[in-house]
């Protein structure tokens, strides 16, 4: 059930990228899609009624791996959030520069490269 919500989020982002005419909205659509993918990654590591993957001094390794949520996808998502941040910075800078050159954020004005 919750996986389909995740897929919905990805599709919303994809819709935003495909339909938007404003460059900033395209960037936001990409971000929403990335959030959806990160959510999917974390959900794959989820265990029903699992505990956070922080090991207390008392528990043994076997108990811990039997009850905790999988920490590896969480590490992957952290890395991916940072990558997304880098791409966002770059694309936002591109949007600003495009505005300086074209005077608008509308992508229908930026059709010089064709054929």
């Amino acid at each position: 059930m919750i996986y389909s919500l995740c897929l919905l989020l990805i599709l919303v982002g994809l819709y935003g990228v495909a339909v938007s005419r404003n460059t900033l909205k395209i960037v936001i659509g990409l971000l929403i899609m990335e959030h959806g993918v990160h959510l999917l990654l974390i959900l794959i590591g989820y265990r029903t009624a699992g505990s956070p993957p922080i090991m207390d001094p008392g528990t043994t390794a076997t108990d811990f791996s039997g009850s905790a949520v999988d920490p590896l996808p969480q590490a992957l998502v952290l890395t991916s959030i940072v990558i997304g941040l880098g791409v966002l910075a770059l694309m936002a800078a591109l949007c600003v520069r495009l505005y300086e050159r074209y005077g608008t954020f509308d992508i229908r004005a930026m059709t010089r490269l064709r054929g």
């Binding site: 990805i10 994809l14 990228v17 460059t23 395209i26 960037v27 990409l30 899609m33 990335e34 993918v37 999917l40 990654l41 794959i44 590896l72 996808p73 992957l76 890395t79 991916s80 990558i83 880098g86 791409v87 770059l90 694309m91 591109l94 949007c95 520069r97 495009l98 050159r101 074209y102 930026m110 010089r112 490269l113 054929g115």
Partner: protein, 472 residues
């Protein structure tokens, strides 16, 4: 080194030139030193299931040599070419990040590490395409980064599905899990997502739309890197690894690859003939040649894979040479428009000679390297029974010759047009880089001396792929 450059070389371009090219030269020497070495390096000395591995096998050595040699040539070329742009130290910083990312993708033994390094290379390339900050470059970079980020998201969904099924991200372990439990529906979806994502990075036809805009707009050495090695290192190489070594080359996937390849060959070649912008023509030509490479990979036989890998290396060299030539033409005359150029053979003779070598190589004229690799791919098609694909490959080879001759005729051999723009001399370092790549073209044709079905470096590399799923 990439991060030190902006600090050390802020006002003095010479320092950044020396440091960057020194690093690239060092990397090239190390790449050649990997021939014949096979190893598995555990990062941080953590044992395999827990730690991240770097895996070096003959396929990786072949790709490393291709990436680093082209990187060095493009780096030497940029010493003179990038004088027209500001912020040369930042350019070198991004360039070194690009080379670092590609080297990392080639060596990665772990699926997520591969994703991270691929993103490093991709983000560096988005920034490099926009380097000139004119309208065309910004528009091209925006399109490229939106499509590239979409592709990366698809790849990440694929990685998530694979992790959910296999419980590990190490490629050797995934391979053993897949061979135990077979390819369930989630892995088929993951494979389809990888095909979409990496297919976009490799510019296969339904996903090629960013390439004809991005490659012409980038500065010439960056175009050489993008078209020559980036689409191969993070596109074709990763697809080949995943399909052959991790998932096992199922017939369905190979069939899809063959059809996509043939469509790319035809579409790229035909669209190239109508172009008047030199670099845009070469960009469409890249799409077409990538079609050849993926056709060879999609055949599944050893000979097909040999042809594909040999064509991959050949294409890296001669396509980057063609882009560097286009850059010199632009540097010398200020224009890339074929209808306005002419008579350049007398004025910039080194460029003319090297572009003739590259054009004959890419069109598949006998003693040059392109001929051997295309021959191997066509023979492999015929052996595999796909006579139709072989016929298409031959026809598109003739079309390749046609558009290359168009470039040669308009730019180099025609008489100088009456209202010709002032022509500068070609600087010596740019000429050196181009001559080095041209010598590389001719040297690569020597690789077949070890036998048509198993050229020197390419044979072991192909055997690594065809050997199938990784033994862990």
């Amino acid at each position: 080194m990439a991060f030190l450059l902006p600090l050390l070389a802020r006002g003095r371009p010479v320092v950044s030139d020396c440091l960057a090219n020194g690093t690239l030269a060092g990397l090239t020497i190390m790449a050649f030193a990997t021939i014949g070495v096979e190893s598995l390096y555990h990062m941080g000395a953590w044992p395999t299931p827990i730690g991240i591995d770097l895996r070096l096998d003959p396929l990786a050595s072949l790709m490393l040599i291709a990436v680093n040699v082209v990187g060095l040539a493009a780096g030497i070329y940029s010493i003179d070419y990038m004088r027209r742009y500001t912020d040369k130290h930042r350019y070198y910083c991004l360039f070194l990040l690009l080379v670092a990312g590609m080297n990392g993708v080639i060596l990665a033994g772990d699926l997520f590490n591969l994703y991270v390094l691929m993103e490093i290379a991709a983000v560096a390339s988005y920034a490099l395409v926009a380097f000139g900050c004119e309208r065309d470059e910004l528009e091209a970079s925006f399109k490229y980064s939106v499509l590239g980020t979409l592709a990366s998201s698809f790849i990440l969904i694929g990685v998530a599905l694979v992790y959910g099924m296999a419980g590990t991200l190490n490629m050797a372990h995934i391979a053993s899990r897949v061979s135990e439990s077979g390819m369930g529906p989630s892995l088929h979806i993951a494979m389809a997502l990888f095909l979409c994502g990496f297919g976009l990075k490799a510019a296969l036809v339904p996903f090629h739309a960013w390439l004809p805009d991005a490659h012409p707009s980038a500065p010439a050495p960056v175009s050489a890197m993008l078209s020559g090695v980036l689409i191969k290192a993070i596109g074709i190489y990763v697809l080949a690894r995943l399909i052959y070594n991790v998932f096992g080359a199922g017939e369905g996937v190979l069939e899809v690859l063959r059809w996509l390849a043939v469509i790319s060959m035809v579409a790229g070649g035909l669209l190239a003939t109508g172009q008047t912008d030199m670099k845009r023509l070469f960009a469409y030509s890249s799409i077409s040649q990538v079609g050849y490479i993926v056709l060879g990979l999609g055949l599944g036989t050893t000979l097909g894979v040999v042809g594909a890998l040999y064509h991959l290396v050949n294409h890296s060299v001669f396509k980057s040479l063609l882009f560097l030539n286009a850059g010199t033409v632009e540097y010398a005359t200020g224009s890339r428009n074929l209808e306005q150029l002419g008579g350049l053979n007398r004025l910039i003779p080194v460029t003319g000679a090297t572009s003739l070598v590259a054009s004959m190589s890419i069109a598949g004229i006998p003693p040059f390297n392109g001929f051997w690799s295309k021959l191997i791919i066509i023979v492999a098609c015929v052996q595999g029974g796909s006579y139709g694909f072989a016929a298409v490959a031959v026809v598109m080879s003739v079309v390749t010759l046609a558009y290359q001759l168009k470039v040669q005729r308009h730019a180099f051999f025609a008489a100088q047009p009456p209202a010709s723009v002032a022509v500068h001399e070609e600087p010596r370092l740019m000429a050196t880089a181009m001559v080095a790549l041209a010598i590389g073209c001719m040297a690569l044709s020597m690789l077949v001396l070890a036998g048509l079905s198993s050229p020197f470096l390419v044979g072991p590399a192909a055997r690594t792929l065809v050997a199938g799923v990784f033994a862990s």
